[in-house]
Amino acid sequence: GAGVSQSPRYKVAKRGQDVALRCDPISGHVSLFWYQQALGQGPEFLTYFQNEAQLDKSGLPSDRFFAERPEGSVSTLKIQRTQQEDSAVYLCAVQRGFGYTFGSGTRLTVV
């Protein structure tokens, strides 16, 4: 969506491979969220950043998942040793005031 660019749009990874997914807010947003959306399901919260600080990572499913936002703008979600259950769309969202704006997501398929 407008205001949030995610790359790559699609990623196929072999099981056990590490992946990095990028979120680039086009204009400055303080709050940034990552969500995981399994096929046919609603998005589920993974982690939240306020500027460069990761204030909530309670939704990360395992220690294979790691997110960072070192300069308070671009964020990267990294998944180590990918497994088939990691296959999903990973959405990034930014918040300004009451509004949340979502990117188009990265579809990750682990084979």
């Binding site: 969506g1 609603g42 959405l91 979502f102 188009s104």
Partner: protein, 114 residues
């Protein structure tokens, strides 16, 4: 745990008819509710929102109704068009201020037939 869910997974309506999509939530502390539309291959797109101190809010062709007594939310789309075909999600958060994550329901697939 607390959850947000939808009554119907799919809804098929004829073009020009009105559509009603329902959502139940269980968190009595929910303060802010949003309806999203998601088309294939895209992220959720904001449709309309409502705060817990309101029971109705209208937008262009859409109305959201909130019944806090029974923890029920609905989205009404007037004169449904083929372009309205998508999956619709309700989402809630306990606080509309910055930094609170949204809790999504599973979604309803709306199919508009000519």
């Amino acid at each position: 745990g607390e959850s947000v869910g939808l009554h119907l997974p799919t809804l098929s309506v004829q073009e020009g008819d009105n559509s009603i999509i329902n959502c139940a939530y269980s968190n009595s502390a929910s303060d802010y509710f949003i309806w999203y539309k998601q088309e294939s291959g895209k992220g959720p797109q904001f449709i309309i929102d409502i705060r817990s101190n309101m029971d109705k809010r209208q937008g262009q062709r859409v109305t959201v109704l909130l019944n806090k007594t029974v923890k029920h939310l609905s989205l009404q789309i007037a004169a449904t068009q083929p372009g309205d075909s998508a999956v619709y999600f309700c989402a809630e958060t306990p606080n509309s201020n910055s930094g609170y994550a949204l809790n999504f329901g599973k979604g309803t697939s709306l199919l508009v037939t000519p």
